[in-house]
Symmetry: C2
Subunit: 339 residues, 2 copies
């Protein structure tokens, strides 16, 4: 039974409940002898402290809320693996909130998360805008609950601890690589909904194009495969002979594009070179294998969790803005020579 309470343990070990509590939370404050006795009884009875009572009395939950946009995005799922691994180290639990259905306003949702008494919040939603950022800031201040942004950022401010890569630079690099190969008609394939992370990729792309005096072409599409395909077919009809390079803000978009062009007998990478963004399983499973920015998503997850833990423990996190380094995976959708 789960009935074993601290009282049962105390009684069986012939001590007061305070001593039991101490052996669990401040072992050094208990004489080794009694400590061991208590520990033994705890094991015998299979006692586990009641999380509610503990939380109510201590005002801590050893739980962090994780807010994600959509579980089925590979980057989100993989990041969660990293987070879970790191959280386990601290014996922290994860309370999962999926934003996908819009039944709830985000501000309502955040208050709900806070009300559930999490010690901190991991925010993995890359679709962040000014309002959202302001909201997060307000929540952090008002409720004194630390928030960490992972694989997303708000570049105009740095009040929230952030773990990300340099999306701007990555896109800038990709574009330049295409330009170096003599590609002239380079397109950026991004999401219809505008948001920070992808806006930065766009800016990096635009900068490189401008420097090379090339005409930028930005196509906005959906994350949905079938919708993608329609867009790309239209794109093919209107501009196919011109496109010779593509940068997609997500691997899945890149793969969709490659598929559509291949169906139209375009040769990849000879006719069109394609880069994706993330290095998910899609990238290595696709044929031709997708070249892409390799985002260290697992490390972003674990780093975010470890920084959050620091904040929860009241240790000052001096560096708010943590930019992890990325690399570029040259595979078969590009023909880049380092020379």
């Amino acid at each position: 039974m789960n009935k074993a309470t601290i009282y049962n343990v105390a009684y069986a070990a012939n001590v007061s409940l305070a001593t039991v509590s101490r052996t669990l939370n401040n072992p050094q404050k208990v004489k080794p002898e009694t400590r061991e006795r208590v520990l033994r009884v705890i094991k015998e009875l299979g006692y586990k402290p009641n999380a509610f009572a503990k939380g109510l009395a201590s005002k801590k939950s050893t739980t962090v809320g994780v807010i994600v946009p959509d579980m089925s995005r590979a980057s989100v799922a993989e990041m969660l693996n990293g987070i879970a691994l790191e959280a386990r180290k601290y014996s922290y639990s994860l309370l999962l909130y999926v934003l996908k259905d819009d039944t709830l306003e985000e501000s309502e949702m955040l208050r709900e998360v806070v009300a559930s008494q999490v010690d901190g919040i991991l925010y993995l939603n890359d679709e962040i805008n000014e309002d959202q950022y302001a909201l997060l800031n307000m929540i952090q201040d008002e409720y004194k609950v630390p928030i960490v942004l992972a694989n997303t950022l708000y570049p105009y401010d740095n009040k929230l601890v952030t773990v990300c890569i340099d999306y701007f630079k990555a896109a800038y690099e990709l574009t330049n690589r295409l330009i170096k190969q003599g590609r002239k008609n380079i397109y950026l394939l991004t999401t219809a909904r505008k948001y920070m992370v992808n806006d930065l990729k766009e800016e990096g792309y635009l900068k490189a194009m401008k420097e090379a005096r090339l005409q930028p072409q930005v196509v906005r599409t959906s994350g949905d495969i079938s919708v993608n395909t329609v867009h790309f077919n239209e794109l093919f009809k209107s501009a196919s002979t011109l496109i010779d390079g593509v940068i997609a803000v997500r691997d899945s978009i890149a793969v969709s594009f490659v598929n559509t062009m291949t169906e139209h007998n375009k040769r990849i990478p000879d006719d069109i070179a394609v880069y994706g963004f993330q290095n998910t399983k899609y990238a290595s499973l696709a044929r031709p294998k997708l070249s892409c920015v390799n985002i260290p998503i697992i490390e972003i997850g674990s780093k975010a969790m470890s920084l959050l833990k620091k904040e929860i423990d009241g240790e000052p996190v001096e560096v708010k803005f943590n930019v992890l380094s990325h690399s570029i995976m040259e595979r078969s959708t590009t023909a880049y020579n380092e020379e």
Copy 2:
């Protein structure tokens, strides 16, 4: 501030805390007038009940524990979307436990989950064996916490509520479709680690092969892409001229196999027809598009969650074993004619 307690609300609304509690939990027991007044104050103060206190007093958490094997598996991630959506309907929260790292024994983990006071458990780990099943049963009985298996099952018993499809039948059907096309050397590609769900697929495959007096060939490989590829290359050398049909227990394995064979100039589906299992994004993103069993993974998730909710509410769940119907997606890695 999060300081607003039920007392503050009571005071401001000029009622006792009991009335506040009632307007929140048994609104019909409160005079509409006072109810509205209380509600207004609640809004003004931004009051949210403290989850700990509520849980401690009521012995309920409106939280379910979700146990998953590995977040990066597309089927798991998509199922979570379904679960989250359904959970939101009941205002239930999800506590996520990832088994991926084996730092913790599963029995320890389960006790931890229980100690965190979840009202129920959703078990999505398909790698279930006899011991694990016994353990789950024990936990359910001992701690009186309902457990639902989703997209997995233990076929020799039905004490735990289960939501799944008929994996045996699905594999049997796939095999027969290949046989009907005149394929003779049909291989099953399954995971190295043996577990129930895949064992059932194997049995379905074996049955069909036996009935057709064909020689079954079972290849065990890993879920890891790079390891896969090595295995498939070996397989190609040893048996390539013979293989003319393949059933893989996961989409990702099927796609890997198709890729390897294509590299060896095998034509898909002419030389080799290939079926996958699940219908993840991989299946539609791959080229040729993967034919596969379409498992209604979102519905499995939401059905599992809704059944769990029923159990939590004490409503008897008469049908323990819920087999959802699957379909077979014929795409481009097979050449099946319904005729």
